[in-house]
Amino acid sequence: MTELAVGDVVAERTIPLTRDSLVRYAGASGDFNPIHYRDDVAEQVGLPGVLAHGMLTMGAAVQPVVDWAGGASRVRDYQVRFTRPVVVDPVEGATLEVTAKVGALDTEAGTARIDLTVRAAGATVLGKAQVVVLVPGA
């Protein structure tokens, strides 16, 4: 705790997404919107391609922080804004690049606000992505 400072990068991870990942998430979450697995439907509604579920991006992006903090139970608050869709190519898939940085510390509560930067295809896809966690060892 004493060594943690605002601006520190606590975790970085690259998460490859494939169409299989989307189908798996659809089943696990119950979100069967076809824009997440059917190219024809995605095209019909004017999308650039099949998109990852926003909630899959949100769910995957927090995992490096979960691991750093010592488990899912240590997350107190988690918010994101969905600013750009993640297009998942049928062959190439897509790649999420996650960087988790300390945004603020609350020594009294023993918590840290971790700010996530999440990019895909060179662009940021989540805005104001913030996780409040109990810091490891607190």
């Binding site: 119950g30 909630m55 899959l56 927090v62 107190r76 608050d77």
Partner: protein
């Protein structure tokens, strides 16, 4: 059709109890690329003091989904599902969700705003356990695109 601003402040009845299953938690954890032993290994979860596996933070959306279905089914609200885009999402926890929990969610529409032909609906779902204790509040902002956009 724009979202009816009169639904601001409206609350819906609590959803039917949702029993959190161990294999559902593990299936969800794998789907969000979790490697967290608390979510995947019942023995590790018990060792950490939990009755069973601990759900990943965003699992709460599975329960919240039932409340959003109530909103979409409310004809007075006028939310056209085919025009809905997820704007933002937040989960605020009193405690994590654990397998074995029986959860109910109560939805309140806390905001309806018009912005450049679109409607922004803020939906707050308060999720409680079988004893009525607060577990997590899930807040979604849904952007309902107007006819022209």
């Amino acid at each position: 059709m724009a979202v009816n601003p009169a639904v601001e402040g409206r609350s819906y009845p609590p959803t039917e109890p949702y029993l959190v299953g161990r294999e559902k938690v593990r299936e969800f954890a794998r789907a969000v690329f979790s490697a967290d032993p608390l979510s995947l290994d019942p023995a590790a979860a018990r060792e950490a003091g939990f009755a069973d596996v601990v759900a990943p933070p965003t699992f709460a959306v599975v329960v919240q989904e039932h409340t959003l279905a109530q909103l979409l089914a409310d004809e007075e609200a006028g939310v056209d599902f085919t025009r809905v885009v997820h704007g933002d999402q937040r989960f605020s926890f009193t405690r994590p969700i654990v397998a074995g929990d029986e959860l109910t969610a109560t939805l309140t529409i806390t905001g309806v705003k018009s912005l450049g032909g679109n409607s922004m609906v803020t939906a707050e779902s308060v999720i409680r356990d079988g004893a009525g204790e607060h577990v997590v509040t899930a807040v979604s902002t849904l952007v309902v695109r107007g006819e022209d956009s």
